[in-house]
Amino acid sequence: MVYLGIYGGLTIGLLGWFFGRQAAAKKRGLDEVYHYIWGKARSTSWYITAAAIYVLMTLELLGIKLNLIPALSILLFVMLSSWAISGAFFSMKLSEPSATSAGRMSLKLSAIIGSVMLLLFSIISAVTGEWRFLLAAIPPIALNIAIAASLARRMNK
């Protein structure tokens, strides 16, 4: 069952990626803007994954034990999902008619990401009965607030 999850997920992911690229190529979608968006998304996902590694190490220091495979699964999930979300976000941002509306969209997205993170860590804390998981929400939420504040300052200029 575990093998089915690991290799089945990989196969479905690769097939989705392959057919997605084929469909995009038909509409001339694999152009320089596509490479710019997804390169930037990959770079963003690396920052988020680095933050997740730091969070996992902090949890270890706080005495919460995580086995290798669950820890790697969390990191893989964080990396792939943040890559996909930031790619979709940058695509939408580039389609916005002005810098102000793009900034507004970024602010809305920041608020949604912050709320989702708080909710996610609250659920993990409730399920595991370990309140210290809430501490792990502090770095990403703080980073999110800093980004939102910077965007708001830029929009007011």
Binding site: G29, E32, V33, K93, L94, A99
Partner: protein, 67 residues
């Protein structure tokens, strides 16, 4: 960097999709460039200018961003 793509498109009676096809990119890329959300590469800027039979300087206007 500003550009005159929208004006030139209407002069040439050309849709975003038609321009995208002429220069070999997606319509989304033309929208992003037209709205000043993305600065094209030199090659793409050249191709867009060529589609309008203009020089790059006539289509793209370089303006230094405010500090």
């Amino acid at each position: 960097m500003n550009n005159r793509i929208r004006d030139l498109r209407s002069q040439f009676n050309m849709t975003q999709e038609q321009l995208a096809e002429a220069v070999g990119v997606s319509r989304q890329s033309i929208i992003a460039i037209e709205n000043d959300r993305y600065n094209p590469s030199l090659e793409l800027a050249y191709n867009i200018s060529k589609a309008f039979q203009r020089s790059i300087e006539e289509v793209f206007i370089f303006e230094k961003e405010a500090e």
